[in-house]
């Protein structure tokens, strides 16, 4: 098969790329290992809803049209949004890309349906292909669960649960596991604290309108850091910060430093990571007020840190039945046989332009802070596909 452009992945990024390619009359195909919106269908826990309110969830060819613009989509609604965007998109489902190599004409993709030859390739295979699990020597008898395995608390063994990581995934799972009656110990490293609502509006309304998401990748002080920033402590509908969790009975401990002789050892620096997050939250709210040109709105109680947080937890005592690793996700480029990934496994690109006709879409802060979110993909796709089309001439 010969095409001008092969797009890998039929998630929000691949679909957006296809719309822009069609608009530019570039013949292309979207190769999808599973079905449209595959990760949203198969790699998410039951209760997950998008962090962005419905009115923000816009894709080329599909916007929210339901009765609750201020609500938050569950996974079936996300799949529905993507399926509507996929109408008229040339998706080939069930096609796994095993490798991408350079060829005289551009690239050769080895797929489960035979080779595909393309002048240009758009990598839209997602930012969260693999859960990151740190290499620790966990004693046998303690079950280990990643967010890809986790569906709901009832599948966890009885007993206490150590949730490692306090970004969006960690705080959401800690809350629902604690509610299920399993006592949760939450290991907290650096994190991003956000209230759900500020001055009566969703905090992401502020991020969107105050221009935070519009900040360009090439104008940020520290792009590497921005791209590695953990997801904010947010959940659909209400504030879910560390104070909320403490009030629910979740026990906070520091960042997991090591597991030694069957005991988890936590950093004694919990107070400082909480202080850093509180300071950053207040600075963010200050920028909102500055943008609004008004007197400061409400400020939040500083994070309550236990007077003496435990720094050692014996994993052999029976207190902990399972560990949930909410320690982030990484993209998988093991199939990419082109030297464009650095020693740490990070794709090297300039705003989605990898070089030599290779492009990426759907990565955090790809071209602006808003790139991380579904609603950020259309602007990114316009820029990236614009570059691609220029290169074809």
């Amino acid at each position: 098969m010969y095409v001008t452009t092969a797009v890998i992945g039929a998630g929000h990024a691949g679909l957006a790329a296809s719309h822009l390619l069609t608009a530019a009359s570039v013949d292309h195909v979207v190769l999808e290992r599973g079905e449209v919106a595959n990760s949203w269908r198969h790699e998410r826990w039951d209760s997950l809803r998008l962090l962005t309110p419905n009115w923000l969830n816009r894709l080329p060819g599909a916007a929210y049209e339901g009765p609750d613009p201020d609500g938050y989509a569950d996974m079936s609604e996300v799949v529905d949004l993507l399926e509507r965007s996929a109408k008229d998109v040339p998706v080939r489902t069930g096609v796994n890309v095993a490798s991408v190599r350079r060829s005289p004409e551009g690239y050769t993709l080895t797929t489960s349906e035979g080779p595909v030859h393309a002048r240009t390739v758009v990598i839209a295979s997602g930012a969260c292909n693999r859960p990151v699990v740190p290499a620790f020597d966990v004693p046998p008898g303690v079950e280990q669960v990643t967010p890809f395995d986790y569906r709901n608390p009832s599948r966890l063994p009885d007993g206490g649960v150590l949730v490692v990581g306090a970004s969006a995934t960690g705080v959401q799972l800690a809350a629902e596991i604690q509610r299920s009656g399993r006592p949760v110990v939450l290991s907290v490293g650096e994190h991003v604290r956000l209230p759900r609502v500020y001055r009566g509006r969703d905090v992401l309304w502020w991020m969107h309108h105050a221009g935070v998401w519009a900040q360009r990748y090439d104008e940020l002080d520290d792009l590497t850091r921005a791209r590695r920033l953990p997801s904010p402590q947010l959940v659909a509908g209400s504030t879910l910060d560390l104070n909320t969790l403490t009030s629910m009975g979740v026990e906070l401990v520091g960042r997991l430093s090591a597991i030694r002789d069957g005991a988890a050892l936590f950093s004694g620096g919990l107070r400082n990571v909480a202080a850093l997050a509180d300071l950053k939250l207040n600075r963010l709210l200050d920028t909102f007020d500055e943008w609004a040109g008004t007197a400061p709105g409400e400020r939040h109680e500083p994070t309550r840190v236990p007077e003496s947080a435990r720094w050692r937890l014996d994993l052999r005592s029976g207190e902990i039945g399972s560990i949930v690793w909410a320690t982030g996700f990484r993209p998988d480029y093991s199939w990419l046989d082109v030297p464009v990934v650095d020693a740490k496994g990070v794709l090297v690109h300039d705003g989605g332009v990898v070089g030599d006709g290779l492009y990426a879409l759907g990565l955090p802060v790809l071209r602006r802070r808003g790139s991380t979110f579904i609603c950020g993909i259309e602007d990114d796709a316009r820029d990236v596909i614009g570059h691609l089309v220029q290169g074809l001439r």
């Binding site: 650096e190 520091g254 430093s257 090591a258 030694r260 050892l265 950093s267 004694g268 620096g269 400082n272 202080a275 850093l276 300071l279 207040n282 600075r283 003496s308």
Partner: protein
């Protein structure tokens, strides 16, 4: 505005070492000699870094002993107090560097470091009590041309990038051998 920290040199070093991780490997050394009783003298001058042997301008000598309430001669500070020296010095250096980088002029930076220690641990009087500090508290008093929130941010950032804060708050593998 200057606090006397050459931030540009540090930022340049950060860029260079990003591409040369081997040059970033340092080994700090101290040589200690027993004197008498629980008194020892430790000297520091040479270290390794940037791929070669390095040396401080001059040798520093540290006397360590225990106080008279420990039935010792008190020829110097208690070893665990040296940890307080390290923590205070490291955080203070961090405050000055971060302030320099953020364009904040410091007029004075003072801190008090308190380490709470239950000595029943080291005496073997109660096996449930640890040998080291139970907790450490650092209190900074800073006069700077900045808002209270900016000063708090300086102190928070200095902890985030402190070698001694990390060494005290996270476990480290320690090997002790007889040569």
């Amino acid at each position: 505005m200057s606090n006397g920290v050459n931030v540009q040199a540090l930022l340049d070093a950060r860029e260079v070492l990003k591409g040369a991780p081997e040059a970033a490997q340092f080994t700090w050394r101290a040589s200690s000699k027993w004197q008498h009783g629980v008194h020892s003298t430790t000297k520091i001058q040479k270290f390794f870094g940037l791929g070669q042997e390095q040396s401080h301008k001059s040798e520093s000598v540290f006397e360590a002993d225990h106080p008279e309430v420990f039935a010792a001669e008190d020829n110097g500070v208690t070893p665990i107090e040296y940890l307080l020296v390290g923590l205070a010095a490291c955080l203070t250096a961090g405050v000055a560097s971060v302030a320099q980088n953020r364009g904040i002029t410091l007029n004075s930076v003072e801190s008090v470091v308190e380490g709470n220690h239950d000595i029943r641990g080291i005496l073997g009087a109660d096996s449930d009590v640890r040998n080291g500090f139970n907790d450490i508290k650092v209190t900074f008093t800073i006069d700077a041309d900045a808002s209270p929130a900016d000063i708090e941010a300086l102190v928070a950032q200095s902890q985030k990038r402190s070698a001694v804060f990390d060494a005290l708050t996270n476990p480290t593998n320690v090997t002790v051998e007889v040569a």
